[in-house]
């Protein structure tokens, strides 16, 4: 099976984020970066499929020089080669623009399966994988926890809400967006890192890929959430207060 995993390098989860001067993005200096969490699960799923069925796992990512570190981590965990799309202005591209870059880079590979993480930890749009499928003309399924290869394609387990799951069958080639938590992640090993030194990382520039970069979605403003606190004391007897509370929970807070 030839599996491509699209990964993203995002600011570390515990990073103290500050909005930048232009209020268009977060202050990038002093940030530590790490592999996006659901992408780590996508990579793990791909590696497990390779271990079971043989084949190749290729990671692809777009970003500046520093994303090379994340590619090396993925290679150290067992991916066979990487594709680094050189791109210094990732923040100015929307999901469509990024998906176009990825599609152009991976199309010649003719993979059997493409995996992405469900959503990124910084923007959290959850769209890139789905748009990628559309651009490549492939079927897709999202929020996937488990993938099994069958004679006719794939059987996948999809997470719904409230503890429900859905089992879907689809043919290959296909695109899947992977939810976190489906597998136990493997740790990076010294042997993996040493082997990674000799693995190929192909560079492609955004210019070479010649995709239309004009965003259709513009990020207007980034701000930190305003903390609001308001307390209402409900008067009356316990019975009256309880009734009032249920009203509020139903119609104001809307959790019931």
């Amino acid at each position: 099976m030839k599996i491509i995993v699209a990964i993203k390098q995002v600011p570390e989860r515990d990073a103290q984020v500050r909005v930048d001067a232009a209020a268009k993005w977060i202050e990038a200096s002093d940030l530590q970066y790490a592999l996006n969490e659901s992408d780590a699960y996508a990579l793990e799923e791909a590696l497990q499929l390779k271990e079971k069925h043989g084949g190749e796992v290729i990671v692809v990512t777009a970003g500046p020089e520093r994303v090379g570190q994340t590619i090396r981590e993925a290679l150290a965990k067992g991916a066979d080669r990487g594709i680094h799309i050189d791109c210094d202005d990732l923040e100015s591209r929307d999901a469509l623009g990024v998906a176009r870059l990825l599609a152009a880079a991976v199309k010649p590979e003719n993979a059997d399966l493409l995996l992405t993480g469900l959503q990124s930890e910084d923007l959290g749009q959850g769209q890139t994988g789905v748009i990628l499928a559309e651009l490549l003309g492939l079927p897709h399924a999202s929020l996937i926890l488990h993938v099994e290869k069958t004679d006719s394609g794939l059987t996948v387990k999809r997470e719904l809400e409230e503890g429900w799951f859905q089992t879907i069958e689809l043919p290959t080639p296909a695109v899947l967006t992977i939810q976190s938590g489906g597998n136990k992640l493997r740790y990076a090993t010294l042997m993996g890192i040493k082997r990674a030194k000799t693995k190929e990382v192909r560079r492609a520039t955004a210019a070479e890929l010649a995709v239309d970069a004009a965003p259709v979605v513009l990020l207007e403003r980034v701000s930190l959430p305003q903390k609001q606190k308001s307390t209402q004391i409900l008067p009356g007897t316990p019975k009256e207060a309880a009734a009032a509370l249920v009203e509020k929970l139903k119609f104001e807070v809307r959790v019931l």
Partner: protein
């Protein structure tokens, strides 16, 4: 009949047939000996060279050889009575060197010591005294092994040991008996030939049994790595630790073949004492069996048939084994080497282990907590940030920065430093020193953490570090040397002891049982300073196992981050021992020991003694207006 003029009787004349027989038998015995001994030497020589091994300086090596081999110091001190018995056997062997040489020489007619000459008389009497003590010693050891049967010698009776004991006894008895017969008597010849045959049978047995230590252990002690838990560096791109036979180094092979099977390591092992699979003696013997069966060129895994992975990961790296070994075996580099082989290649699959590694891959501390929590703690305690001007950098560590109890210890130590007027600051950012991953054998992660931290220290211009955690001290001072030059670091007990005369002496009738942390005691030889500090806060009481014999709390070796342990809980066993002293307080000097006992002492309910770190004990005595 014994008279004061008795001399050693020897046959005055050997026939040609006897001489030829002697030569043939000696040659046969020597050949049989060499066939096996040569093979063992080959296996050791063919093993990989030890990276980072330096023969010089010789001073320590010569001293260790003199003290531990010639004086048998460790043998005697750690097990006095059997140790002394063994020492007499050993000294007997040494004294007999010339006797034996002369014995064979006279058999072919070129004897050089005359029983009637002045030197000969003196020497033979001296050897007789040693023969007597040797015989008594070997007899005592025989009784101990076959009748008293201490459990660390194993369940199975060793007939081989019994036979060797018999041979040694016969050697001494035939020698001594020769003082009671006349040269011309036929008994003399019988004694002479019995003595000879005993030697010629003994010689080839030596390399086939644990008695190989007779020849190897002086070299093993001399050539040992030194230090404590001296973990060798990995060299090149294909070195992942002890994966297969090809990774066994000459020192490891030499040490494996030197094992005397005395069981002192097992006797003091916390895992072996709480019903776990791990038995340090069996780890070493497993390596030896591997070498015997497969040799140092095999690529079969060291873990599997010869040693269980499960056992290797039950080690707390407390060092009781390495500390005890009388023949110079260094168990910790072997155990950690085996762990490296499993972890660096990804062969170790453990949920908790993976969780620890992933937490440190992504984050800054082993507890998996957001680093902003450490910042909040620093702000709340109003700890000054290190800006290059203060004398000390106070290293918080994972426990000091993120654990509630560790934070209390840091806060109290800060109070004491304020009282003493010491200038110090804490770093804005710290990553875990990497101790747990170092002991678990994850060199990738350890390198990343060490290098990142060394960079932080260099940029912050740190000159001196003080910290509350012995694991941080050891890792920063020793283990980081593989990746740079760490600044000098000391433990807070060493710091506080220096100022003991400036700290208030508390008037109290509290009794405090001080628990020696493994990484402060055995690893760093710091025993007196924490006691001096504890003595300021009450009367120091000793646990039955104290100082170098201190029994591990169970947290080390990364084990505090791994899951449920099998068998009895090490921490509970030690806590019970501490409680049984009747002390009102348990004094600790390590936040991990503190954490383990906090849980274990809860079992004693209301009757549990207080649990306080030496920093807390000291701070308690400060005048009340000292606030951070």
């Amino acid at each position: 009949m014994l008279s004061l003029a008795a001399t050693l009787a020897e046959p005055q004349h050997f026939s040609l047939a006897e001489k030829l027989l002697l030569i043939v038998l000696t040659a046969a015995s020597a050949a049989a000996f060499w066939r096996r001994f040569g093979a063992v030497l080959d296996k050791i020589r063919q093993s990989k060279k030890d990276p980072g091994f330096h023969l010089f300086p010789l001073g320590r090596r010569v001293w260790d050889f003199f003290w531990e081999v010639l004086c048998q110091a460790k043998v005697i001190r750690q097990r006095p009575l059997p140790g002394l018995a063994h020492a007499f056997v050993f000294w007997g062997f040494c004294a007999f060197a010339l006797v034996t040489l002369n014995h064979f020489a006279s058999g072919i007619g070129v004897g050089f010591l005359s029983p009637s000459g002045p030197f000969g008389r003196f020497y033979f009497y001296l050897a007789a005294a040693f023969a007597f003590t040797c015989a008594a010693g070997i007899f005592g050891l025989f009784v101990r092994r076959f009748f008293i049967r201490p459990k660390w010698l194993g369940q199975k009776l060793s007939w081989e040991s019994g036979f060797i004991a018999l041979l040694i006894f016969v050697l001494m008895a035939t020698y001594l008996a020769a003082f009671f017969v006349a040269d011309a008597s036929p008994a003399t010849r019988i004694l002479w030939w019995t003595h000879t045959l005993a030697i010629l049978i003994f010689l080839p047995i030596i390399p086939h049994t644990k008695h190989l230590h007779l020849l190897l252990s002086p070299a093993t002690v001399f050539l040992s790595r030194g230090g404590f838990s001296q973990i060798p560096p990995l060299v090149g791109d294909e070195d992942f630790g002890l994966v297969a036979g090809t990774d066994l180094t000459q020192l490891v092979s030499l040490q494996a073949y030197s094992c005397v099977e005395c069981g002192r390591c097992t006797e003091h092992c916390p895992a072996a004492n709480t019903g776990k699979l791990l038995n340090p003696k069996e780890i070493v013997l497993g390596v030896r069996a591997y070498l015997n069966d497969l040799g140092p060129a095999s690529d079969q895994s060291l873990l599997g048939k010869y040693n269980a992975q499960e056992a290797v990961f039950q080690c707390t790296t407390c060092g009781a084994c390495e500390f005890q070994c009388p023949v110079g075996i260094e168990h910790l580099p072997i155990l950690i080497g085996l762990r490296r082989g499993a972890v660096n290649t990804g062969a170790w699959e453990d949920d908790y282990g993976a969780k620890l590694f992933l937490a440190l891959e992504r984050g800054s501390n082993a507890l998996g907590i957001s680093p902003s929590e450490r910042d909040k703690f620093i702000q709340k305690q109003a700890l000054a940030l290190f800006d290059g001007t203060q004398e000390y950098c106070l290293w918080l560590g994972c426990m000091g920065g993120y654990d509630p109890k560790g934070r209390e210890i840091v806060a109290d130590f800060a109070r004491v430093m304020n009282y003493l007027g010491t200038s110090y600051g804490v770093l804005r950012k710290e990553k875990c020193t990497g101790d747990p991953v170092r002991r678990l054998g994850n060199d990738l992660l350890f390198q990343q953490l060490a290098e990142a931290n060394l960079e932080i220290l260099a940029q912050s211009k740190v000159k001196k570090i003080v910290t509350i955690c012995p694991h941080c001290v050891r890792t920063i001072q020793e283990d980081w040397k593989d990746y740079g030059t760490p600044p000098p670091i000391e433990h807070h007990s060493e710091f506080l002891a220096r100022f003991a005369d400036k700290l208030p002496k508390q008037i109290t009738d509290e009794t405090i049982v001080y628990h020696d942390p493994c990484y402060l005691g055995r690893y760093r030889n710091v025993f007196d300073e924490p006691r001096a500090v504890t003595a300021l806060a009450g009367t120091v009481v000793e646990a039955p196992r104290n100082h170098e014999r201190s029994f591990c709390c169970g947290a080390g070796g990364g084990l505090t981050f791994l899951g449920e342990e099998t068998g009895e809980r090490v921490s509970h066993v030690r806590a019970a021992e501490l409680v049984a002293t009747g002390a009102t307080t348990v004094g600790t000097a390590c936040p991990f020991c503190n954490s383990m006992f906090r849980d274990a002492l809860a079992e004693s309910g209301e009757a549990a003694p207080q649990l306080l770190d030496i920093a807390q004990l000291t701070a308690r005595g400060l005048p009340k207006n000292e606030a951070v």
